[in-house]
């Protein structure tokens, strides 16, 4: 059985959709499917052009949902649409809203969800790849249930590739009112950030617990700036409140695939490694010679970040 029909939840981001959404539309097209993107917000016309350029034939546009948290409305609408049309699967970005949508659709349709997917295979239907134990092993799974599979895919699992095709046909669908009371967004707070976006930067310099204190994170930021890169962080120091969540790299944070990743005082917990092991080059600085991060590092320095980083920063400065 080949794959003929795939739907992709395309999460809006300003006038665009998120990069993971584009990756999923691209992959759905590469698998040979007719691709329907499902999106919402006030930018449907622009989004129809974008998802079309990445390979979607059709955009189901729910329109502006107002100030509600989108998951309950998007899920109620998707669930009612999926009862009429039965695609092989729905691919959903592993974002906060994506995971919420997947959970609700799953309960509404009584169908399980496969999460943390990083690869898809067409073998008599769809099979999904899930990295386990820090990415050292891959579990390959498939859904037994009838009906569309719900598949939540991690960022940067696939490459987003534009095609020569034009915009997608935009079909406006009135949102299905959810039975659930709404959660309402009262206000949005955006943290100031300069330099390249973490998920797109060619160089990422990240700090962890080994920095010792929040003030030492300044060295990470300075090194990132000198290398035209973005500063990142392990979950440990985000949880500790040293840096905002938007800096977090890992399972529950951002997935990055830069040319160079420098891990400063990061031991290399599974949680962190799955978010950065795709980097082309990895440099690690850590006091503990047995830190797991060294197992995937191209160049490791067993040493104190408090001596190595200042020396590296001053050496780079003296060159510019």
């Amino acid at each position: 059985m080949s794959i003929s029909n795939l739907w992709v939840v395309a999460e809006p981001s300003g006038t665009d959709v998120t990069s993971t959404s584009k990756e999923l539309v691209s992959e759905a097209r590469r698998l040979g499917a007719t691709v329907t993107a499902v999106s919402w917000g006030a930018q449907g016309a622009s989004i129809a052009q974008i998802v079309g350029a990445f390979g979607a034939q059709r955009l189901v546009d729910l329109g502006d949902l107002g100030a509600v948290l989108p998951a309950s409305v998007v899920a109620a609408t998707l669930a009612s649409l999926l009862k009429d049309e039965s695609p092989d699967a729905v691919l959903i970005p592993a974002s906060n809203d994506g995971r919420d949508i997947a959970g609700r659709v799953s309960a509404l349709l009584d169908t399980p969800v496969l999460t943390n997917v990083t690869g898809l295979r067409v073998v008599d239907g769809l099979e999904t790849e899930h990295p386990v134990f820090g990415g050292t092993q891959t579990v390959v799974a498939r859904l037994r249930a009838p009906g569309p599979g719900l598949i939540v895919v991690r960022a940067k699992s696939f490459v987003a590739e534009g095609t020569a095709s034009g915009g997608a046909e935009r079909v406006r669908v009135a949102p299905t009112p959810p039975s659930t009371r709404a959660a309402t967004i009262r206000a949005s707070h955006v943290e100031e950030r300069t330099g390249p976006a973490l998920e797109d930067a060619a160089v990422v310099v990240s700090g962890g617990r080994g920095l010792g204190d929040a003030a030492s994170y300044g060295m990470v930021e300075e090194l990132a700036r000198l290398l035209n890169g973005a500063p990142g962080a392990s979950r440990a120091i985000v949880d500790a409140g040293w840096v905002p969540y938007s800096h977090q790299v890992g399972q529950t944070g951002k997935t990055v695939k830069p040319d160079l990743y420098i891990a400063c005082g990061i031991s290399g917990a599974t949680q962190h490694m799955v978010g950065m092991k795709g980097a082309s080059n990895i440099v690690a600085i850590n006091k503990d010679p047995d830190a797991p991060i060294f197992a995937i590092s191209d160049f490791g320095v067993v040493g104190d970040v408090h001596t190595v980083l200042p020396a590296l920063i001053s050496a780079l400065k003296s060159r510019s």
Binding site: A107, V139, A182, A183, A240
Partner: protein, 260 residues
């Protein structure tokens, strides 16, 4: 203010992990309370303390032969726990687990249901929202701050760019991130009190659930060794660490060769 916290006993993430004969996470060793759940327990205790009345109870699904992990959450101050243990639930997926927990929770009328954003063993991260949908409740997820104002719960919800302030009327499901609060340590008095707090073990039949609705519906078809990069050079710093890194950055052409 009555708060239910979903908790899970998991294999110690710091210990080496493996898959069992059915390619599922080997859970045969010592189980502990998922650290991610201790944050929800702490948030619940603080909300009940602030309200001045009510109780914190726990729900869990899994083996009940050793409930030391559950007792550690009771020692923090939760009043009682219900554990659904049944051989029928081996290999249960997140939706099945959500159905089971929903059956327990719907026997009560909590104001708030708390859970971690995801467990530290499976990382599925869909269960709390599946549970919310099954109970027809709003879900406020990825909360880094939780306050209750009258009949409304208000959270700071992590976003890519910062956070949103999100509100819903109670009852509701809230998922909390690690770091939302600092979980308290159990006191000696708490540990002693926890020994006598009720841990009720129930089966699928006790909950009136039809076992046919609980069958796992996903198969693991293979487990493969992933191609990961092997370790490169490891240099023990004797003062040249920074220069050696610089040389490596030149070699991969991230920085241009020596300027002088």
């Amino acid at each position: 203010m009555n708060v239910v916290v979903c908790v899970k006993q998991i294999p110690d993430p710091a210990a080496p992990q493996s898959l069992d004969a059915e390619n599922r996470l080997n859970r045969s060793g010592k189980l502990i309370l998922d650290e991610a759940d201790s944050y929800g327990v702490e948030v619940a205790l603080r909300l009940v303390e602030a309200a001045g009345e009510g109780e914190v109870s726990l729900v869990s699904m899994g083996e009940a032969t050793d409930v030391t992990g559950i007792r550690s959450a009771l020692a923090m101050g939760a009043q009682r726990a219900t554990v659904v243990a049944d051989p029928l639930l081996k290999g249960a997926d997140a939706l099945t687990t959500a159905k089971v927990l929903a059956a327990v929770i719907s026997r009560e009328t909590p104001d708030l249901i708390l859970a971690a954003t995801e467990s530290s063993d499976g990382y599925t991260g869909t269960l709390p929202v599946q549970l919310a949908q099954l109970l027809d409740l709003p879900a406020l997820t990825f909360a880094t701050s939780v306050v209750v104002e009258g009949d409304t719960v208000v959270v700071h919800r992590q976003t890519e760019a910062g956070y949103d302030e999100v509100a819903a009327t109670l009852p509701a499901v809230v998922t909390v991130t690690a770091g939302v609060v600092e979980p308290r340590y159990a006191t000696f008095k708490g540990i002693m009190a926890a020994k006598s707090r009720p841990v009720t073990v129930v089966s699928v039949a006790d909950l009136g659930l039809d076992p046919r609705t609980l069958d796992p519906r996903q198969d693991i078809v293979a487990v493969e060794t992933a191609t990961t990069k092997s370790a490169g050079e490891k240099y023990v710093d004797d003062g040249e660490g920074a220069q050696r890194i610089l040389a490596f950055l030149e070699q991969i052409k991230i920085v241009s060769g020596s300027a002088t």
